[in-house]
């Protein structure tokens, strides 16, 4: 108990703010990565299936796949920007 009290005394307000910012930043990015992770996995899986079924349309599928990835990962990247803003700004 006394150890905990000692720790509580040592932690200052600024430290607490830093800890909360780091925790919030990690949480923000972790949560933001879930959806796009699932989305990109599904998208690329379907694209691979399309290319395997119709190899002659591989070029077109690939371009569309990159477009889809770009739209899907935007949310993860905005999460990353929120992480930077919470952690460093």
């Amino acid at each position: 108990m006394s150890v905990l009290a000692q720790i509580a005394q040592d932690i200052e307000a600024a430290d607490l703010q830093n800890i909360e910012a780091a925790g919030g930043a990690g949480m923000a990015y972790g949560l933001a990565a879930i959806g796009p992770g699932i989305g990109i996995g599904y998208l690329v899986g379907q694209a691979v299936q399309a290319m395997a079924r119709q190899p002659e349309s591989a070029g077109q599928v690939q371009t569309t796949m990159f477009l889809g990835i770009a739209f899907t990962e935007a949310l993860a990247l905005i999460g990353f920007v929120v992480f930077i803003l919470l952690k460093f700004v």
């Binding site: 077109q60 569309t64 990159f66 477009l67 770009a70 990962e73 990247l77």
Partner: protein, 257 residues
């Protein structure tokens, strides 16, 4: 116990902010590494295309092969799927976008630069605003003021749903689009830069501490592998930014589909 005590990540200002080389006092004209990379992104494509334009004859050689290859790649892989019919007037813009962004990205892995110019928000934001102004002006020029009606009130939607659809379309097309277009490039390059710094810091820190040399077995191949990965990311991000600009222009040019 403090095994990783030697490993200290530098503050974020130290890895993305560069001191000015020229005009230190000026806020807007300070010339630092980022401005130098942007300048290279302007000069190198111009040099390649000017040298490429000199050659004559049917068989392309030297710089002409390079410049024709770039233009063909952008035309076939980016403009054709993105804009389609009537894409020729927009090809110069797309080629400039592609080369400027690629040079701004690839400096991430080039020694002595080691900094992607697009990891600062200003560059991507300006490019995204250019693309934004471009697709709106193309839409207005080719469809008249009816372009806004076409976008905000898409045909085939029940009347009552316009209450919901119009604000969403307005936000997503005219307000959020340049922002997400810029953030996509910026955040990718910043993430790659931080990733490389993390592995670089691990590699440097463990030289000194004897027991930590074992970590080197993992970190150094990691650094090499991620450097190769970032080369691919630079190419793909330049490609994605350009094809999105092409898709936006194409959507304004042929709003029916």
């Amino acid at each position: 116990m403090n095994l990783l005590g030697a490993v200290k990540f530098p503050p974020i200002e130290n890895v993305i902010e560069w001191p000015a080389w020229l005009f230190e006092d000026s806020t807007y004209f300070a010339f630092n590494k980022i401005a130098f990379i942007h300048f290279l992104g302007l000069v190198i494509p111009m040099a390649v295309f000017l040298l490429g334009a000199r050659g004559s004859g049917l068989v392309p050689r030297g710089f002409r092969t390079v410049s024709e290859g770039i233009v063909t790649f952008v035309d076939e892989q980016i403009a054709k799927p993105g804009i389609g019919h009537g894409r020729e007037p927009y090809l110069p813009l797309l080629v400039s976008f592609f080369l400027f962004i690629f040079i701004g990205n690839i400096t991430e892995v080039i020694p002595f630069f080691q900094m992607p110019a697009n990891a600062r928000m200003a560059g991507p934001l300006v490019l995204a605003l250019v693309a934004w102004g471009m697709f709106i002006s193309v839409g207005v020029r080719h469809n008249g003021p009816g372009y806004f009606k076409e976008v905000l009130f898409p045909p085939g939607v029940p009347k009552a749903l316009y209450l919901l659809v119009t604000p969403i379309e307005f936000l997503s097309t005219f307000l959020v689009r340049p922002f997400s277009h810029a953030v996509r490039l910026f955040a990718n390059m910043l993430a790659g830069h931080i990733l490389l710094i993390t592995f670089g810091v691990l590699c440097i820190s463990v030289w000194s501490a004897s027991a930590l040399v074992l970590i080197q077995i993992g970190t150094f191949p990691g650094l090499v592998a991620f450097t190769a990965f970032e080369v691919g990311v630079s190419l793909i991000q330049a490609f994605v930014f350009t094809i999105l600009a092409a898709v936006y222009i194409g959507g304004a040019l042929h709003p029916a589909h």
